[in-house]
Amino acid sequence: MRFDARSARPALALAALVGTSPAWAQAAAAPTHIDSGDTAWMLTATAFVLLMTIPGLALFYGGMVRAKNLLSVLMQCFAITALVTVLWLLYGFSLAFSTEGMHAGMTNLHSFIGGLDRVLLAGLTPDSRYQTVPESVFVMFQMTFAIITPALIIGAFAERMKFSALLWFSGLWLTIVYLPVAHMVWSGPGSFLGDLGVIDFAGGTVVHINAGIAGLIACLVIGKRRGYPNVPMPPHNLGYTVMGASLLWLGWFGFNAGSAVAANGSAGMAMLVTQIATAAAALGWLAAEWIVHGRPSVLGIVSGAVAGLVAVTPAAGTAGPGGALVLGLVAGVICFFSATRLKHKLGYDDSLDVFGVHAIAGIVGALLTGPLASPKLGGFGAVESVWGQLWIQTKGVGFTVIWSAVLSLVILKLIDWTLGLRVDDEQELIGLDIALHEEKAYNLS
């Protein structure tokens, strides 16, 4: 993201192709002023991305749980928003985006994790700048990404995790899993995955594969919901889910088109391909479901749309409109099978399909980003070798899958041994709303 939107990423890719160390061209083309148009768009995009978590994701997930757990899901999204905001101020931004000790083409500790020179947002003033926008706006924009990523994971263990465990998990996971991956991909010259040439425009790897894999590990560690799969657990209000998915679609324009960090052609193209891939994936899931199950479902079309949004995220800065169409269709169909077949076949209880939709669509998107960036396939990336970039993307996916899986497992086991991850049977039966928060979502009498 960020750098490839302008000059650095093409330079990096080109350098990778000719076998030299990456020549980040950012310095040469460094802007010297704050642009009010860019700033206005980035303020808007930032608000859009926050809208994705609260209320977008909260409603999307909230509608899919049983009525007795609706508030718990809304609460978790809201609390994560507050918690990550504070952690981002304390050390999150620094560990993700500090460039202390980084050198292009050189792998050292700071290729994996940022320094502490920006702790408490040290050095941030109204005049400090990131490219053509105030640095405060960039800090805030990136914060909204850090908020939604742990929030995505809650869908995997919905309806059964302790609230205290959730807070510890979110904070530790952000620190140990998210911040290093964000740093490795986005922090510029000298970053581990960035120097490899991995293209991740808006976070397919950093956000979705990372969260989706953590979700799979989490639902395996915490175990199935009581009664799963024999007790019916249908969504209690698909209307909320449709509203949430619609807000996600809207907010994703901030996510993807905002990742250009400018109001320019790259942002415009990112918005266009986001719309196309999302629509294609919605139709892809719809068609697959209609053929396989004999009827088109509302949950299906909105799930397909989310799969498309996820899949196009890494590719939004480099894929062309035709590539986005293909990407969306493929992601929609594959995610239909992963969420409806794979899960039941393997028997894990990923309550709201965090792995089936986010990890799978993220992996499909990250891999296809390689070929689709090629001008030969209508893309706009400085990628000459379709297969070469596919291999780079594969390495990025593989690294992130292992990183997220291993460290998420360690964090979850640690919390399980100390605090306990799961509510007791009675609390689960009563529902987390009453059991943990002593409140109900619905008082209908």
Partner: protein, 112 residues
């Protein structure tokens, strides 16, 4: 006196109420209930997970009437509640031994 208990589809209630009023029935009690007969519920499918819903939402209508109103009342309910599709419901008729209006202490047909 007779006691009619009718299980009907919820959306037919207004028509049934109107039809019963037209044949002189002055009061009725309605309860939201769930159940199944030959229809045996239905299935719902969410992301590949199939849920069998055994108990379908119905309304239970209870009416107390004079013996001579029975045929008219049953026909009124049948006419208004019948869609011809499975799940239209059932009508049960039983003897009613006594009726008392609490306010006036009138009994039997006068109390209906």
């Amino acid at each position: 006196m007779k006691w009619i208990t009718a299980i009907i589809k919820p959306f037919t209630l207004d028509d049934v109420r109107q039809a019963l009023t037209e044949v002189g029935v002055t009061g009725m009690t309605v309860t939201e209930v769930k159940g199944f007969g030959r229809q045996h519920g239905h299935t719902e499918l969410y992301r590949g997970a199939e849920y069998v819903v055994d108990f379908l939402p119905k309304l239970k209508l209870e009416v107390a009437i004079a013996d001579e109103q029975l045929d008219q009342a049953v026909e009124a309910i049948m006419g208004a509640a019948r869609t011809g599709k499975i799940g239209d419901g059932k009508i049960f008729v039983s003897e009613l031994e006594q009726a008392i209006r609490i306010r006036t202490q009138e009994v039997d047909v006068d109390a209906l």
